[in-house]
């Protein structure tokens, strides 16, 4: 079969090239159907409980997708006539943002006050024409002492304010709606800056975050993929010194990517932040196949074989190992299907498809191209081999020191794993080069954090929110929440009611308290509601039946675990103080806080399954369960060490990193497979001692291993440059794991083999004979 494959390819190279390219092109057309989904909701599956809770809350109250203009006057004072006029203009312009349903700012805050026997409800800043310093000061005092505004719309000191635009996307064409809003908002910002040179404006909010998902990925596509091609060309060009080989490899890579992304389009995939890194990953992984075939071919040619024979032999020798490593890599990536986050399932599936396609292309069109194109062999300097030989000598000589040393290093690293903390902070999904990140960081420093939890307290009865008992519970809860150090802001209807009560009593501050009868509260609210203009109603705080109200709490930046703890405390508060109400907690922050945990658990199941599958495959391929088991150690150690080091470096593990173990497992296995099969080949067929066998393995695959590792590390290091931090961290940790895997395979595995194999000789000689005879067929391929 293996002979037949190249016989066919060698005889009909042009046909093979034609068929492959046609296939790639037909599949590639599907790539036009690929669209980028710029919505943070894609990170959650339909059945995610936090998403379901959040969506039902959004249906009861108003939606909370928003854009925030963070407006910073350079003179540090929001309350000048000029700046207030500018804010008023910006507020008005914001109503023109597509799909906007509400605009909140300092100027249009619905200020209520008593005037004789009447209650006046009007914009806090009505006219900016005759604002005396007295009036300005009064406006400032009202704004910075209003609990609804302070920290949310205006900073405590009055140096920064926010114009918040609530947007209700119809969801008819989601791919177009978010960019439409972003474009409009940016145009408003540009015009505003032009008219107000003394002002700085940052754009934050969910819409800008969603926009950044798409834009960060687009930027990546424009910088990372070309960078990766450069890495491939340089690596192959320098290390293997072949133009034909480089061109053919690049072609295989392009075809693998185009076909995969095309098939993704045909299959109805959509792109997301994580899955948009699939091309970079496929590119990295596809190179390895080509390197193996090229290395063997050049080896044969240097030995004196003609080109066709060399290619034929190379394909024959490499077919099974490449297939094996491709399939283990694919299994590793397929383990991502266990992720709770759909974009990671897509990423896993896309890369798995890509890796298998790369395998197919590298044994069909790749040899066909090599057959057709001219290939010359340059005399290779042997220095590299010398290094490998020296390394082997070193490892064998120092094995007694190396094994304990490396073991200590592994154990020491593993001890830092508990340092890691689950944390999905969606703001930090972007690095500081992304404007959304800087805007949001600025907001966190000067106003409030991005951690928001919406709390719906339900009475289950019509008008139930006007009940004094209910109002007192909600008010007590809000006070308790405000007293917590991590709380920045609490928006609650009880503040409005207290203010109205005060207004109704001639603005007497002693009356700043909840009305004491249900009728009173209901009628205050009615009066207030009947006085509010379009878009500033209470629909975002009360449901239609007034049976439940929504409290919105904004917290300082914190980790997922801390937020989950706050949530638990809030649940406990209600259980203790107001158990009669049904309370729902929901928000994007909570969704992200919980996804990490859900994902880690499901990824552990997925990774274990992948590990079992891969180990069985290895056992079969190595024809020895014993070595299959031994291989577990070098296969698992790299990820363990990498996570230990991560625990020292950053210690923040989010969605992106939780898939790394499964992903790298399939890749690091390749090194072990190559090393062990060469080792066993020497032991079984050449009657070598463990020391000789280790030397043999170093001589034969050492160089190929470090070249492929170099490419892989370079590839994932390129991904680590992504401005989308989720991808960048994933790339960095993967690169680290693969690099560690090589060290483990060079410094830990050989001493381990020399130790265990010795004992085995004594203990289970029979077993060895059995597996030896069984493995004879297998070794010739290894």
């Amino acid at each position: 079969m293996r002979d037949k494959l190249y016989n066919f390819v060698g005889k009909n190279p042009f046909w093979v090239i034609l068929v492959c390219i046609t296939f790639a092109m037909v599949a590639g057309i599907g790539a036009q159907k690929l669209e980028f989904k710029n919505d943070y909701r894609v990170f959650f599956s339909e059945e995610n409980p936090q998403l379901t809770a959040f969506e039902s809350m959004q249906k009861v109250y108003a939606k909370s997708d928003n854009v925030s203009f963070v407006v910073v006057p350079k003179d540090g004072n929001v309350f000048t006539a000029e700046h207030l006029a500018a804010l008023k203009a910006l507020t008005k312009a914001s109503w023109q943002v597509p799909y906007s349903t509400r605009v909140d700012s300092v100027t249009n805050f619905q200020y209520t006050y008593a005037e004789e026997d009447d209650m006046i409800v009007e914009d806090l800043v009505m006219s900016t024409k005759n604002l005396t310093s007295d009036k300005l000061d009064k406006i400032k005092q009202i704004a910075i002492s209003e609990p609804l505004l302070v920290n949310k719309i205006i900073s405590k000191t009055g140096h920064v304010s926010v114009v918040n635009v609530t947007v209700q996307l119809p969801g008819v064409d989601p791919m177009a709606e978010t960019p439409e809003v972003a474009t409009s908002v940016r145009a408003i910002k540009a015009k505003f800056l032009e008219q107000n040179p003394g002002v700085e404006v940052h754009l934050s909010g969910m819409i800008m975050m969603n926009t950044s998902f798409g834009e960060a990925s687009l930027d990546d596509g424009a910088t990372l993929i070309p960078l990766m091609f450069l890495v491939v060309v340089i690596t192959i060009g320098l290390l293997l010194r072949t133009i034909t080989g480089t061109i053919s490899t690049v072609l295989v890579i392009i075809m693998s990517i185009v076909t995969t992304m095309g098939l993704a389009g045909w299959l109805g995939f959509y792109l997301t932040g994580p899955s948009s890194s699939a091309p970079t990953m496929i590119m990295t992984l596809a190179v390895a196949d080509c390197i193996h075939i090229l290395t063997s071919m050049f080896y044969e040619m240097r030995q004196g074989a003609d080109k066709r024979t060399a290619i034929a032999r190379s394909v024959k020798i490499n077919l099974q190992p490449i297939f094996l490593t491709s399939i283990t890599t694919a299994i590793g990536f397929l383990s991502m299907n266990f992720s709770d986050s759909p974009p990671f399932r897509d990423l896993g599936n896309l890369v798995a498809i890509g890796v298998m396609l790369a395998f197919v292309f590298s044994v069909t069109i790749f040899p066909a191209l090599l057959t057709v194109l001219p290939v010359r062999v340059k005399k290779q300097s042997e220095s590299k081999k010398d290094i490998m030989s020296k390394l082997a000598d070193f490892v064998i000589a120092k094995r007694k020191a190396l094994l304990p040393l490396t073991s200590v290093f592994i154990i020491a690293s593993v001890m830092f794993i508990p340092n890691n903390e689950l944390n999905d902070d969606f703001v930090k999904y972007f690095d500081e080069t992304v404007p959304y990140r800087t805007a949001t960081d600025y907001m966190q420093e000067n106003l409030s954090g991005m951690m928001v939890v919406e709390i719906s307290v339900k009475t289950g009865e019509s008008s139930g929110i006007n009940n004094p008992t209910y109002l007192h519970s909600v008010s007590d809860f809000s006070d308790w929440l405000r007293a917590r150090p991590e709380t920045d802001h609490v928006n609650t209807i009880t503040d409005t009611l207290k203010r109205l009560n005060k207004n109704m009593h001639g603005d007497d501050p002693n009356w700043y308290k909840l009305p004491d009868s249900q009728e009173m509260s209901a009628q205050y609210l009615l009066l207030y509601e009947m006085s509010l203009p379009y878009g500033l109603d209470l629909n975002n705080q009360l449901d239609v039946d007034k049976s439940s109200s929504r409290i919105v709490a904004t917290f300082k930046n914190m980790t997922s675990n801390e937020l989950i703890n706050v949530e638990a405390d809030m649940i406990e508060w209600f259980a203790k103080h107001a158990p009669q109400y049904e309370v729902d907690f929901a928000s994007p922050s909570l969704m992200f806080a919980h996804i990490g945990q859900r994902n880690i658990i499901s990824m552990l199941i997925g990774t274990t399954l992948a590990l079992i599958l891969i180990s069985i495959l290895l056992g079969v391929a190595l024809k020895s369960w014993r070595f299959g088991l031994i291989s577990l150690l070098p296969n698992l150690a790299p990820a363990a060490i990498a996570f230990g080091l991560w625990g020292l470096l950053s210690a923040q593990v989010g969605l992106g990193l939780s898939v790394v173990i499964g992903m790298t497992l399939g890749i690091v296995v390749d090194d072990t497979v190559h090393f062990l099969s060469k080792y066993l080949h020497a032991r079984r067929d050449k009657d070598a001692s463990p020391k000789e066998a280790v030397h043999y393995a170093f001589d034969n695959v050492g160089r190929a291993l470090w070249v492929t590792t170099f490419v892989l590390v370079a590839g994932f290091a390129v991904l680590a440059q992504s401005s989308f931090k989720m991808n960048a961290d994933m790339g960095f940790l993967t690169a680290l794991t693969i690099f560690i895997a090589l060290i483990v395979d060079f410094l830990f595995l050989p001493p381990l083999l020399m130790l265990l194999d010795k004992r085995k000789n004594v203990a289970a000689a029979n077993d060895d004979v059995m597996s030896d005879s069984a493995s004879r067929k297998n070794v010739e391929v290894a």
């Binding site: 023109q96 026997d117 006007n466 009628q523 009066l527 009947m530 006085s531 203009p533 379009y534």
Partner: protein, 269 residues
């Protein structure tokens, strides 16, 4: 009684004249603008002379989640010629606002005068006039959607005829004169036979479709005045809707100005 009738018809004739005056004053109008105005004038003219009315209204609020909420309201209206109508709205349900009464003097161009009587406080409070774009009792109806139709409130443009449920309608675009309005324009379907509105599309300040109001079950009272028993307002942007169901219409019940002032608010029921 007879003198009152004579007086009434004199006033009616006068106001018809004044409507014509509005029509003829509006010189330099394009053909479409003139036709749009004429249709609206005719519509207003055909309903003149109802004097006063009382009716019960059931308000049904629905949100996207399917939750419902009802309000029960009694409405008293007084026709005012050459100005906007007066109305008194008395709330029966929800129970905690029972007895609350809302008095409104609408005006064609200037802001309306509005008062609310709060029984819990036993006080009458004046309401801000800038609220006309705001929701009425948390519903999808804004104040301006419920106040009486006055020709001077809009400028017009005739868009053509359109078939609606098998009935031929004029399609007229209306542009609010008051800058406090929440709309840039409304598109109204008025049937060619009785000049009744059957459907209105509302466009918000950024000119995107915000709401659609549909009138159904028109009934004729006193062989002249048509009232729709059912009005359904659907908000396209937030998925909420409000239905108004009218019952027990009575006309010419003898209400007068003295039933529509701050003092009458307190005794309204």
């Amino acid at each position: 009684m007879l003198t009152k009738k004579i007086l009434m018809s004199a006033v009616l004739a006068l106001s018809s004249l004044s409507l014509m005056a509005v029509s003829s004053n509006s010189f330099a109008l394009s053909a479409e603008e003139q036709k749009g105005l004429d249709i609206s004038l005719e519509s207003k003219k055909r309903d003149l002379g109802w004097q006063d009315s009382t009716a019960d209204m059931l308000m049904l609020l629905r949100n996207k989640q399917g939750q419902e909420s009802t309000r029960e309201i009694k409405m008293k209206s007084l026709e005012v010629l050459n100005d906007g109508d007066k109305s008194l709205t008395i709330f029966n349900k929800p129970r905690d606002v029972k007895g609350t009464a809302f008095l409104s003097f609408s005006h064609p161009v200037e802001a309306d005068d509005q008062w609310l009587f709060l029984p819990a406080l036993k006080r009458v409070k004046r309401i801000s006039s800038r609220n006309k774009s705001g929701p009425f009792m948390g519903s999808e109806f804004a104040f301006e959607d419920l106040s009486s139709f006055e020709v001077e409130k809009y400028t017009y443009k005739y868009l053509g005829v359109d078939e609606l449920n098998g009935v031929t309608n004029f399609k007229v675009e209306q542009y609010p004169v008051d800058e406090n309005s929440g709309y840039t324009r409304r598109v109204v379907w008025i049937d060619t036979k009785e000049y009744l509105a059957h459907k209105i599309d509302f466009y918000d300040r950024k000119d995107s479709l915000l709401k659609t109001l549909t009138f159904s079950d028109y009934k004729q009272y006193l062989s002249k005045h048509w009232r729709a028993d059912n009005q359904e307002m659907i908000n396209h942007q937030n998925g909420k809707s409000t239905e108004l169901k009218w019952a027990n219409y009575n006309f010419k019940t003898g209400l007068s100005d003295s039933d529509f002032n701050r003092n009458s608010l307190k005794r309204a029921r």
